[in-house]
Symmetry: C2
């Protein structure tokens, strides 16, 4: 996802600098851009690097997984604000990023959202692949949105699989790929008996999610997972979902006969 944003900037003549979080970023892909590596806990070093590169606008991309203590490299810039960070940390991943964002804004940077800097990579409304949801899939989509709405306050479940009106599985910290693998397994073991080609993956931002930093993302891998899980397609929120490699995604969906539906927010 960060590379989709960076590519979008480059395509419009803006030169991005990637500040890659050690352990969370693919080194081979980072190489394509001007970049620096930073570790969790190096807020002081990060701030100095932002200044030396002349960056004023910062885009956080991705959510910050709760790091292991052994991976954290505290520097003085971090220790200065540690109390603030710890209280943000206890609020969950999203709050942690928002907390860091607040600190950086106080230091004179401007936090900008993915939607502001790379609107071209967002899912549009409507069907983007050839297939379209039938009546059963449309009903499943509605059911899925209801469940995600009910789970909103709990910082879990950015995605859900609904088949023929039945809520089959809710995403946990394994993420969407893990959810789809689980559904595929449930089909293999016969726990799901609906015919292949039925059911929908519905994915939406969590209600507390800071959409400046962290947007639900779908890509060709999501489509592969949906195909393996034997579903009919996916539905995401238009304007609040990144379509990473939209072209590859549509090609994969058309090949498998799946729909990709952008829903009104």
């Amino acid at each position: 996802m960060p590379f989709a944003v960076a590519d979008s900037l480059v395509a419009r003549g803006i030169a991005p600098v990637v500040f890659a979080l050690r352990g969370a970023c693919d080194p081979a892909r980072v190489e394509r851009f001007r970049h620096h590596w930073i570790s969790v806990g190096q807020l002081g070093r990060a701030t100095r690097l932002f200044r030396s590169e002349g960056c004023r606008d910062l885009v956080f991309i991705g959510s910050l997984m709760r790091p292991a203590l052994s991976e954290i490299r505290l520097d003085w810039g971090t220790i200065r604000v540690i109390g603030e960070l710890m209280s943000a940390f206890r609020g969950g991943d999203d709050h942690l990023l928002s907390g860091i964002g607040r600190i950086l804004e106080r230091d004179g940077f401007r936090m900008v959202g993915i939607r502001d800097v790379a609107p071209d990579i967002l899912m549009p409304q409507g069907a983007i692949a050839r297939a379209t949801p039938d009546a059963a899939a449309t009903a499943d989509i509605g059911r899925g949105r209801e469940v995600l709405g009910a789970l909103g306050p709990f910082d879990i479940g950015q995605a859900v699989v609904v088949i023929d009106g039945h809520v089959v599985a809710v995403e946990d910290i394994e993420g969407t790929d893990g959810l789809l693998a689980r559904v595929a397994r449930l089909r293999e073991t016969g726990r799901i008996r609906a015919k292949p080609g039925r059911g929908v993956l519905v994915k939406a931002p969590k209600s507390g999610q800071d959409l400046r930093f962290d947007l639900p993302t779908v890509g060709p891998k999501t489509i592969e997972g949906v195909a393996s899980a034997g579903l009919a397609g996916i539905a995401v929120i238009a304007g609040s979902t990144i379509a990473a490699d939209a072209q590859g995604m549509v090609a994969a969906a058309d090949k498998a006969g799946l729909f990709i539906q952008g829903l009104p927010a």
Copy 2:
């Protein structure tokens, strides 16, 4: 679970007859009781057997998994009420059992609940093992009840795992054992980084669940799963949860240092 109910009846001098659903019952354990085997779809045969055994009070035990078409053996007694059954079927497993119950009551039988015939196998309120939930576990229990409440309308999630305030995973059709295995896997792969001995399995009836037929059940196997998942204990609703082999369960919990808490409804 059916055998725990049958044992409870025998202990009080009541002779039960087990009508075992083919494919869903352990033959070796059925052998211990007077019994008949029936297949899904044999409502006519079942009704005749109930009458020939002189049974008036019927207890449904367990939920009816959506059967494969190939497993169904329709008899005339079923075909007579097939329209009614199909509309109940579409409402989900619980509605299907309620629908069958209504038909049998019309035929002169009395549907009684597990709670009425075997109250001695229900979880009491409070802690039944030596350990008790600390403040963090108590907070996790509260969080878990909130999530289960929110999921109530959706016929999913009879159980949830909460660790340090984070909702880690929601039960799907794999059931509670599957949920605990998933949490154990997430711990092994490092996706859950909380220390072992933290977090709670919270289990409660679904809001639409017909408590006459289908009560959440916990037993020694649940405790083993909770231990493997590295949690601190389990919390269930007192009076609405079957403790199958309570003694074995408490022994397993004491050995692993886990708590078993019965919550007020």
